[in-house]
């Protein structure tokens, strides 16, 4: 018997233009909770997808219990007892929990599905591990937390011994996170080995006993967690002190730019309202941050403000101009700039070039068109200017098709476009998600510059660090409502966390003063 339940030796995996895993070695012992730490794009998920058989590495080898194995597909991985909870759950939305769990390993009787035994076994498992799941509920009706439990049951039902969790807490409330931690402890006690992918240091220190840190596809080091501090781990992760708190000039809060009263926005088809009777004011020279766990109505709030979804009630006032019933273009042209959450879905027409994307909301305005004809040359010149000013890296100038550009540079195109439209209000939704440290600093600088110019910024962020570093005021959103109004210099992570979890809430008259 080998010392390790599995080993990955010298794994190299390349994608066009990038080496995602460069000579990575990882050794996990039985009953380890092994953390894989690194920034976005460090290669953590790629490495685990190799182990799970979704990717084939260019070189390197995998050993299970000391024996060389070849994992060609998830089926092979399963056979070796490897299970994985992916970041985006791999569940069929209109199947029930039971159907999802048995998928691929269904038992049959005379050619017909026979799930009776499976149900019995699952009921036993749910009891043993305290994983509350309604087996007959379709996945699409479940909370994210329950969906994750379905994923865990999927692995347990298959009697997997090596369980991989890819960023499992990104979508969970702190309570759900705590529950997950307990489940993981229970699993380890039963003899399972865990790989835990994360970039959240608190969690790793809380749950893991050993950790490998990746940076840009390479191993920085493998350490025992005991004795490590958060600071040491974070330095390994990014290679230098992270997120220097940006210099914030003193800016006096100005007049109210946008005043929202009693705003209600519907949820996805058939669901109850996602934003419930929300009120707040956004001032000039202010970065107002809406903090909260993903899925608590932030997306819908932004949709309601920008017009991407109709509002159920309430008003959105810019001075005397109530835009709550106005179309997207009206809001765009007069008041609002919007850095959208999903840059590929909303932010860019990927097959358009930079200059075409630069005029996405203004193509019909006098600056770039006359009598229904677009002045491509003018648009091109404008885009060249933006490329220069915002340091957008592109191969063929303003004519570069944005699809081929890196994520960071695509985001810069959007940031440049939205900031330079000179609207009084900017709504920035997770503007730094998936960016590297340099790009994050750059974008933060731009937001602060806007603040100094006396414009109002509504920042929607899931990253607590970002929230604390650059905002002037924080509104915490929980289940479609604002439950707390905090100031970064008067609060701390713990308090913020309590609000985000819904464990603490203030009654304040609609949030506006």
């Amino acid at each position: 018997m080998s010392e390790y339940v599995f080993e990955m030796k010298n794994i190299t995996k390349k994608f066009p233009g990038i080496t995602a895993n460069d000579d990575i070695t990882l050794q996990v012992r039985k009953q380890d909770v092994y953390a894989l730490l690194g920034e976005n794009g460090a290669g953590k998920s790629t490495l685990m997808n190799v182990l799970f058989g979704l990717y084939q590495p260019e070189s390197g080898e995998i050993l299970i219990n000391g024996e060389h194995v070849k994992i060609r597909n998830p089926g092979d991985a399963n056979a070796y007892g490897i299970g994985m909870v992916h970041q985006h759950f791999k569940l069929v939305h209109n199947f029930t929990a039971l159907q999802n769990i048995v998928l691929g390993v269904e038992t049959t009787k005379r050619g017909m599905l026979d799930l009776g035994k499976a149900r019995e076994k699952l009921i036993e498992l749910t009891n043993r591990y305290q994983l509350k799941v309604d087996l007959d509920m379709p996945v699409e009706d479940m909370t994210v937390g329950m969906q994750q439990r379905v994923e865990i049951l999927k692995m347990l039902y298959r009697e997997n011994d090596i369980l991989i969790f890819d960023e499992p807490t990104a979508v969970l409330t702190p309570q759900e996170t705590e529950e997950l931690m307990k489940s993981i402890e229970g699993l380890v006690a039963e003899g399972k080995s865990i790989v835990f992918i994360s970039h959240k240091l608190n969690e790793i220190i809380r749950i893991a006993n050993r950790c490998t840190v990746l940076r840009r596809g390479k191993v920085v080091g493998a350490v025992d967690i005991e004795g490590m501090t958060k600071e040491q781990l974070s330095e390994m992760m990014v290679g230098r002190k992270i997120m220097l708190k940006p210099e914030k000039a003193d800016v006096k809060r100005g007049e109210v730019l946008m005043s929202v009263r009693g705003l209600t926005v519907g949820g996805a088809k058939g669901h109850e309202n996602s934003v419930k009777d929300v009120s707040f004011d956004l001032h000039a020279g202010e970065i107002l941050c809406v903090a909260g766990i993903d899925g608590n109505g932030q997306t819908e709030l932004v949709y309601g403000l920008t017009g991407l979804r109709g509002v159920g009630g309430g008003s959105i006032l810019f001075g005397n101009d109530d835009v709550s019933g106005a179309d997207i273009r009206y809001r765009n042209a007069r008041h609002i700039s919007h850095i959208p959450e999903d840059r590929h879905k909303h932010g860019l027409v990927l097959d358009y070039s930079i200059y075409e994307n630069m005029i996405l909301q203004t193509y019909f305005e006098k600056t770039v068109s006359h009598n229904g004809l677009i002045d491509n040359r003018k648009a091109f010149k404008y885009a060249e200017e933006m490329i220069e000013r915002y340091d957008i890296r592109c191969a063929q100038g303003a004519g570069t098709v944005t699809r081929g550009m890196s994520g960071g540079n695509q985001q810069k195109v959007i940031v440049a476009r939205e900031i330079e439209r000179h609207s009084s209000v900017l709504i920035a939704v997770q503007p730094t998600r998936g960016m590297d440290v340099g790009a994050i600093e750059f974008i933060h600088k731009q937001l602060l510059r806007m603040r100094e110019e006396g414009r109002g910024i509504l920042l929607i962020s899931l990253e607590l660090e970002e929230v604390m570093n650059i905002s002037d005021r924080i509104l915490v959103m929980y289940e479609g409502e604002f439950v707390g109004e905090l100031y970064p210099d008067k609060t701390n992570f713990q308090e913020l966390g309590l609000y985000m979890a819904g464990a603490k809430r203030d009654v304040f008259a609609g949030g506006a003063h």
């Binding site: 997207i328 959208p340 027409v349 990927l350 358009y352 996405l360 004809l373 081929g404």
Partner: protein, 375 residues
């Protein structure tokens, strides 16, 4: 990804440009289509017949009927499929599959017939202009209805197009049967158009003797150029393309995508309908046969658009090419072979168009290899 492309551009020069890549890939598919057509001929007709017959197809039967006649026929038969091809391609640029082109084609044909016969006494020599306008209007309305159903009622484009085609078919039958000027009871076809309703020949009958070539092809090409201009230069074109490439981003930008889709279908309907008018009002003695089957020109628009990559100018060439093959197919009777052989060739070409991207990738890899080390 980008880096790799750049290197190819530098190394391959013009050969690695997107235009060349698409062009070469299409040429390869055409060659494959022709080869499989040849194989079918060899199997069904034997070598003695198949080889000369195949030669006739790839020479557009020009050898058989003479260059001028062959050329003229090619231009004449290109007109309807040019317009339906443009119709399908234009709608696809907005991300809409216009399977309703056959219905719009028919509506245009009917309106052209109606205006041609009814307005001739009043308008005289200008009747043909009225016919074109009437056809465009009819197709525009028909396309707009379909577009609105798709955009505002979220009706499935395929189901909607198929149903609208049949409704148009029977509607036109009904309208024609109810109109004594267009139709004498008992026959299965309509009366033919008066001379004033026909498109000017512009002396093309002298150049292309023995063919029905007329100004329809010139009008058709002009319409394609106009479509190109709309897409390339206008704000409407910007909206159409943005909607087609990323509907959500277009919405985010404040574009009313439902309206854009409806407008695009309207324009697309005008194009298809122009196919009907320009074809039917193009030559003397044309009669529309009433029946339960949709005319093929509308469907042929799909291959024309695909072969032309939905690009209005490229569609001109793909329409001429398919027409060239069709004219070649007309010469097949003398070999005892059905003209359907041309459809076989085009459909196989279209089949290989479905994974054309693969050919493009292979081609780029080839160019990369060829030019390696030279840059």
């Amino acid at each position: 990804m980008k880096k790799k492309e750049n290197r190819a551009v530098k190394a391959g020069g013009i050969w690695a440009s997107p235009f060349m890549t698409t062009f070469i890939a299409k040429i390869v598919t055409i060659i494959i289509g022709l080869m499989i057509g040849l194989i079918l001929l060899l199997f069904t007709s034997g070598t003695e017949v198949a080889i000369p017959a195949f030669k006739t197809i790839i020479t557009g039967s020009f050898g058989l009927v003479g260059f001028r006649t062959g050329m003229g026929r090619m231009l004449y038969y290109a007109v309807p499929i040019l317009m339906t091809g443009l119709s399908v391609g234009f709608a696809l640029r907005t991300g809409v599959f216009n399977i309703g082109a056959p219905g719009q084609f028919l509506m245009g044909l009917y309106a052209g017939l109606f205006a041609g016969i009814h307005f001739a006494p009043a308008l005289g020599g200008a009747t043909w202009v009225a016919a074109i306008i009437a056809g465009a209007l009819a197709g525009g309305v028909w396309g707009l209805i379909q577009g609105m159903l798709q955009a505002y009622k979220k009706m499935n484009a395929i189901i909607c197009g198929i149903m609208m085609n049949y409704v148009a078919l029977y509607l036109v039958n009904m309208l024609i049967r109810a109109d004594r000027a267009l139709y004498f009871g008992g026959r299965s076809y309509t009366n033919s158009l008066p001379g004033d309703a026909l498109l000017p020949r512009l002396g093309m009958n002298n150049i292309f003797t023995g063919s029905a070539a007329n100004s329809g092809i010139i009008i058709g090409i002009a319409v394609c150029v106009a479509a190109y201009f709309i897409l390339k230069k206008t704000t409407l074109g910007y909206e159409l393309k943005a909607t087609g490439l990323n509907r959500e981003a277009a919405r985010y930008a404040g574009i009313k995508v439902e309206r854009v889709v409806a407008v695009s279908m309207m324009i697309s309907g005008v194009f298809a309908a122009l196919g009907g008018v320009l074809y039917h009002n193009g030559a003397m003695g044309q009669k529309y046969t009433l029946g339960d089957a949709l005319r093929p020109e509308g469907f042929t628009g799909i291959p024309v658009a695909l072969l032309g990559s939905n690009h209005p100018i490229a569609i001109i060439f793909s329409a001429l090419f398919i027409s060239y093959l069709q004219v070649g197919g007309l010469g097949m009777q003398s070999f005892g072979i059905e003209s359907e052989i041309v459809t076989v060739i085009t459909s196989i070409t279209i089949f290989f168009c479905s994974f054309n991207v693969l050919f493009q990738k292979l081609y780029i890899r080839l160019i990369d290899k060829l030019f390696e080390g030279r840059a």
